[in-house]
Symmetry: none
Subunit: 206 residues, 4 copies
Amino acid sequence: MPETAKPETRKIQAEKRRQEILDAALKVFAEQGYQGATISQISETAGTSLGLLYHYFPNKEALMEAVIAEHSFLLQLKNIIAKQGKQSIESVLSQLCLQFYRLLESKKELVAIFLREGTSNPAVSQVWFSMIRQGVTSLISLLDQGVKQGVLKEHRLDVTARTLMSAVVMLYLTREAYGEGFTSPEDFIPQMIASQLSGIKSRQKE
Amino acid sequence: MPETAKPETRKIQAEKRRQEILDAALKVFAEQGYQGATISQISETAGTSLGLLYHYFPNKEALMEAVIAEHSFLLQLKNIIAKQGKQSIESVLSQLCLQFYRLLESKKELVAIFLREGTSNPAVSQVWFSMIRQGVTSLISLLDQGVKQGVLKEHRLDVTARTLMSAVVMLYLTREAYGEGFTSPEDFIPQMIASQLSGIKSRQKE
Amino acid sequence: MPETAKPETRKIQAEKRRQEILDAALKVFAEQGYQGATISQISETAGTSLGLLYHYFPNKEALMEAVIAEHSFLLQLKNIIAKQGKQSIESVLSQLCLQFYRLLESKKELVAIFLREGTSNPAVSQVWFSMIRQGVTSLISLLDQGVKQGVLKEHRLDVTARTLMSAVVMLYLTREAYGEGFTSPEDFIPQMIASQLSGIKSRQKE
Amino acid sequence: MPETAKPETRKIQAEKRRQEILDAALKVFAEQGYQGATISQISETAGTSLGLLYHYFPNKEALMEAVIAEHSFLLQLKNIIAKQGKQSIESVLSQLCLQFYRLLESKKELVAIFLREGTSNPAVSQVWFSMIRQGVTSLISLLDQGVKQGVLKEHRLDVTARTLMSAVVMLYLTREAYGEGFTSPEDFIPQMIASQLSGIKSRQKE
DNA sequence: GATGAATGAGAATTCATTCAT
DNA sequence: CATGAATGAATTCTCATTCAT
C-alpha cells in the first residue's frame, strides 16, 4: 500500500471515517447532551484520534449540526405517509401511528438530542419542529381524504391530527422513561384510534 | 434576648436570600440547562457573591434538586383536579385541561428544566413523571365517575386520560416553541374534548 | 447592667472558651495538618461559632502558635530528668527513656503537628528542636554524673545521648504508625539500655 | 516512515515532559507539603502549562503517588546492603550507616515528603515504612552473620538494628533542620558504632 | 461577647481547540 | 491524513476573614 494507489479508496475511506465520527457523536450527544459530551469522548467512541475530528468538522457545534442533518428522518416520515393502502380508515390511522412510533424508536438517539437541546439550540429545534409540522400536515391531508370519502365527518382536522401526533410522541417518551414494561404501542394505539373515531360519550337515547 | 436586638431578623433575611438564589437558579437552569448554567451566572442573577451560594447549598447538584423540590407543582395539580364542580362532562374536562395548561404555563421554567434534564437526571425525571402519573390517575378517576353516572360509555379510560394529557402537554410545548401566535388553548382544548367525546367518524347510516 | 454581675465569672468563662478552642485546634491540626484544618472545623469541634474564634485569636496562624505554646511539654521534660532517684545507672536510664516515651505518647497530637509542620513552620520547628536539645543536654549531664561516679567510662557522651533520644523517638513514631502490636517500649527500652551500657560501662577489673 | 518523520521522537519528548513534571512536583511537594503545593506552582516549576499536567496525571493525588513510586529508593537501599565487603564488623557497620545517611541526603525531597505526609497519606507511609523495614531486616541479617562468625555476642539483634537505624535517621533530620554546622556523620557514625560495639562484641577471654 | 451570613481570592479540574511532528 | 501533546480560559468549589446584627 504505497499510500495513494487508488484515489477512490481514500475518498471512500474518508467518507467512512466521517460516518464513524458522526455515529459516535450521535451516540455521545444523546447520552450526555451537547454540553456534557466531550470531543475526546466522541473521538474515543469513534475509534479515532482527537485531532482527526477537526479534519472533518471545524468545531463541536458544526459536528452537532452535521449529526442532526445526517440523521434527520424527515424523508422516512414522508414515505410512511405516502405508502398508505386502501384499508379502512381505522386501520390506516393505526398503521400510520404505529409506524410513526417505530420511527421514533429507531431514532432514539436523535429524539433524545431533540428533547435535550431543542429549547436552546435553534438548529435543533428547527429540524424537530419541521418534523412535527410534516407529520401533522400529512395527517391532515389523510384525514381530509376520509372526509371527502364520507367516512369521516367534517370537523377540525388540525385538532385531531395534533392530538394523534401528541399521543404517539408522548407514548414513546413515557415508554422510553418508564421502560418497556409500560403500555405497549400495539395495545395503546388501536385503542386510541378507536376512541377517537367513535367517541367516548355514551349513546343511550340516540 | 440580651444578645441580639432582633434575633429573628437575620434568619428571615437568610431565608429570603436562599429564595433569591433558588429563583435565580430556576431561571438560569431553565434557560441554559443544568450543564450550561454556571454558578457565577446564577449568583450574579441572584445578586449575591459566588461563595454565598455554597453557604446555602453544598453543590450545584443539590441546588438543582432544591430548585425542583421547591417549585414542584404537584400540590397545585391535585387541587385543580379536586375542585371540579357539577357541570357537564364536556365542560369539566375542558376546564381541567385548560387549568392544567395554565399550570404548565405558570411553571414555564420548571417545565423547561424537566424537558432538558429529564432524560439524564433521575431526580428530575422522578418528579416529572410523578406529575404525569398524578394527572393521569386523577383524570381516570374523573372519567370513571362519568362512566358510573352513565354519561360516558365503558372504554379504556387510561387511553383517553393519556391522550388528553399528551395533547395538553404537547400543545403547551409547541406554543412555547412556536410562540404565542400558534393555536390557542382556548380554541384547541374545547375542540379536542368535543372530538374526543363524540368521535370523528361520520354516521350516515345510524 | 445585669450582664456583668460577677466580673470574675466572665473572665473565667472566657478563659474556658479559649481553652476549648485551643483543645479543638490541637486535635484538628494534628489530624488534618495546618493547611488541611479549617477554621469552621475547629470551631465546630470546639462547639462555638466560627466568628467567636476571631475574638480570641487574630487568625489561623496565631491560633497555631498558641496551640504549640500552650501544649509545649518542655517543663514536663525538665521535671522528668530532675526527678531521678539514686538507683543503678541502668535503672535510671531505663526510667528516663520510658518516661520520655510516655511523655511523647501523652502528647500524641502535638507530636503529630511537630512532624507535619516542623519542616515548614519555623515557629513549630523551633519548639520541637528546643525539646530535643533540652532532652539531649539533660541526658548528657546525667551521663556525666555517671562518668564522675565512675560507673561509666569516658566517651563521647553527646553521641550516646543522641542515640538514646533517637531510639526512643523513633520507637514512638513506628509504634504510632504500625499500631500497638509492634515492639513495646517496656520490652525495647531496657534491652537497648543494656546493650548500650555493656559498652559504655567501665570495667574496673579488666 | 510514511506518516511521521520520527515517530519515536514524540514519545521520547512526552516521557521527558512527564519526568520534568515529576521532578517539579517532587520539589514543590517537599517544600510546601501536599496540601500547600499548588498545581500551578508545580506546572510553573516544570515550565509547562497548567493543563498539561492533567494530560499526564489524572489529579494531584495521582501525581503525588507517581512522585513517590518514581523516586522510591528501595532498590538503592538493597544495593547498599548487598555490597558489603569483608572488612571488620566495625568498618562494615560504619560504612553501611554512612551510606544510608548519604542515601537520605541524596533523597532530601522525598524524605521531606515522607515526614510531612507519612501520617496522613497511607500511600506515602506505606512506602516509607517498607524502607525502614527493609533497612532493619538487612541490618539484622548482617548482624546475624557477625554472631555466627563469633565476632558478635548473642543478643537482641532487632534492638540493635533499630537503634542504629534510628540514630542515622535522626542524625539526618536534625542536621537537615539545624544546618550543616551540626555534628557531621563522619564524626558521629563511627563513634556511635564504636560505642555500640564495645557492648555487643563478644569478649572471648572474659 | 456571640453569631453566622457574606465576601472574594484562589484552588483543582475540565475541555475545546491548535499545531508540531 | 493522522496523532496526541500542549494550551489557557472557564468552571466548580473552598475557606480565611470580616461585619452587621
